[in-house]
């Protein structure tokens, strides 16, 4: 059996979870296994029956799981692994997924390969995986000696696919929890003060780097985003280090990973640590005054020139078109 440990948000499976189920199904086909899913959370029972392409769903539905309760979730996941003896355990390589699986690995004394992108199956057995290093700038092939093999899947590594078929069997998992498993828990959720569309949801992201030159210059990127609509403004580490933008706007290895339809990079050199944050963009348009800048090797469209002339001209043209 392959056990997919999934995460839910707002009473739905997250995109990363759908990718995880898809990867688990692909793997199961090659290893001739069945897939079971584990859902932990408040109200997950309602989601279980709608899952397809898995033969069984284990659920731990608990009133107290309004948000992530790390140690309780880990105890439950570890119990599911011990009870069901899967060959492979797969979870989303999100912040929460990696946190949860590291706790599970520690509890069961198992190795954990995080953020996997590829799986090598030989003679029906998973032999090796490829995983992200340097935030995805490099890929590492690793062999995992402990069993079951515990993995997380890098977000966006594969596209989620829906499956047909019969409804899965649903089984309630009951694991005794004590106070201790609640010693780490969310006390409060403070809603973001940021207005507008988030970097990870926006269809178009406009990024600014050192070439912007000042915090004030980002105002024109905001204006461009507003004209385009469904767009958000991001930044490089140079821009956040200079306090031109808050760190939450940073795109890259130590910032956000985005996957918009279009990324417009303004005054950004294209350092690999920045580009790994936007490599899942469908298209990348770079505006840079240096024709030799590395970003032009990593973009689909290039405009060579001073962004301080090009961006205002673009804004003026979009305004003119809107007015017309």
């Amino acid at each position: 059996m392959i056990l997919a440990i999934l995460e839910t948000a707002k009473n739905a499976l997250s995109e990363a979870s759908l990718e995880t189920v898809t990867a688990a199904r692909d793997l199961a086909q090659k290893t001739n296994d069945s897939v079971a899913a584990l859902l932990i959370g408040k109200g997950v029972r309602a989601l279980a029956a709608s899952l397809r392409g898995v033969s069984a769903v284990l659920i731990a539905d608990d009133e107290r799981f309004e948000s992530y309760v790390p140690e309780a979730f880990a105890k439950i996941a570890a119990a599911a692994i011990t009870q069901k003896s899967p060959k492979i355990v797969l979870a989303p390589g999100t912040e929460t997924g990696n946190d949860l699986m590291a706790r599970v690995g520690a509890r069961l004394n198992l190795g954990l390969a995080t953020n996997c992108t590829e799986f090598f199956v030989e003679n029906g057995a998973l032999k090796r995986v490829t995983r992200s290093n340097w935030g995805g700038s490099l890929l590492e092939e690793v062999e995992i000696l402990s069993s079951p093999i515990v993995l997380t899947l890098a977000p966006h590594a594969i596209a989620a696919q829906s499956a047909n078929g019969a409804a899965p069997s649903v089984e309630t998992l009951s694991v005794a929890l004590s106070e201790k498993e609640f010693r780490v828990r969310v006390r409060e959720l403070i809603p973001s003060e940021k207005k507008g569309i988030s970097l990870t949801d926006a269809k178009v992201v406009i990024g600014g780097g050192r070439g912007m030159g000042s915090a004030e210059a980002f105002q024109m990127l905001e204006e461009l985003a507003a004209l385009i609509g469904n767009a958000a403004v991001g930044a490089t580490r140079v821009a956040t280090n200079n306090n031109w933008r808050p760190h939450s706007d940073q795109i890259g290895q130590t910032g956000a990973q985005i996957a918009p339809d279009l990324y417009i990079a303004c005054g950004i050199s294209g350092a690999i640590q920045h580009m790994v944050g936007c490599k899942n963009s469908k298209k990348i348009l770079a505006i840079n005054k240096d024709a030799e800048a590395p970003i032009f090797q990593r973009a689909d469209y290039g405009v060579i020139g001073d962004l301080h002339q090009i961006v205002p001209a673009l804004i003026a043209e979009l305004k003119r078109l809107k007015g017309a």
Partner: protein, 249 residues
């Protein structure tokens, strides 16, 4: 307050990578070394905690003898003590092995706050801090971007898409830190000079059996074909055309 901060020595690669001929490692010829970015922020956080609440801070790394450089850098900024777990073969240690050596070393030392980076810049395993916490049976919050100490409790904030998750845990506790929690300071010249004299506690450690074994390192495919739309503001009509074509406007 006794604060520990664990860091990793990683190549300071700049904007790109070169691999060794055998494809097993990053080629570090003519490349300097640094502390991973998240951990640089963890060092800064440790210094700030001690400045505010008093006590002592210790920086620890598991690495080669040359990793003294990273420890002294942290001392130069204001960390007061250092431990080097010496292992020439540190690159082949997996997270469980590293965590075991760290936990054994720090267990008798009674730290109140143990800080790690959320993930190291090179291997990005996301788990050494959590595994140490498990071995020491301490609570752990990962990926924090704010930390406040009140008596024997800590309030840690984690940034999620919807806003901030606020955790409150009793000390001692483990936290893994993300860049953005603070802006790390630069060491002063005086700091650099006096850091040279601070003794580093050294202990040779041997690798326990590992569960993850590297087989190869490779560069991902970059499959984009560049189309130059033009030069300067004259390119604007072409940009607009593309924006239309892509459905952006």
């Amino acid at each position: 307050m006794k604060v520990l901060v664990c860091v990793k020595r990683v190549p300071d690669t700049g904007g790109g990578f070169k691999l060794t001929a055998d494809g097993m490692r990053v080629d570090t010829t003519n490349v300097g070394f640094a502390i991973s970015p998240h951990e640089e922020c963890a060092v800064e956080e440790a210094i700030r905690i001690i400045e505010k609440h008093g006590g002592s801070s210790t920086v620890l790394t598991l690495g080669p003898p040359a990793a003294q450089e990273q420890l002294r850098e942290a001392i130069a900024k204001g960390i007061t003590g250092a431990i080097l777990l010496e292992a020439e073969d540190y690159e082949s240690w997996d997270p469980a092995a590293t965590a075991q050596a760290i936990a054994e070393t720090v267990k008798p030392l009674g730290f109140d706050i143990l800080l790690f980076g959320n993930e190291s810049a090179d291997t990005c395993n996301y788990q050494v801090g959590l595994r140490v916490a498990h071995l020491l049976d301490l609570p752990c919050v990962t990926g924090i971007k704010a930390l406040e100490i009140q008596d024997n409790r800590a309030i840690a904030k984690r940034e999620v898409k919807e806003g901030w998750e606020v955790y409150e845990v009793a000390l001692p506790a483990v936290f893994t830190v993300k860049e953005g929690i603070n802006t790390p300071r630069h060491p002063s010249l005086r700091g650099i000079m006096s850091a040279k004299k601070v003794p580093i506690e050294q202990k040779r450690v041997t690798k326990p059996s590992t569960q993850l074994v590297r087989k190869a390192l490779k560069k991902p495919q970059e499959g984009r074909q560049l189309e130059i739309l033009g030069q300067g503001p004259e390119a604007v009509p072409k940009i607009v055309e593309k924006l239309r074509e892509l459905g952006a406007i």
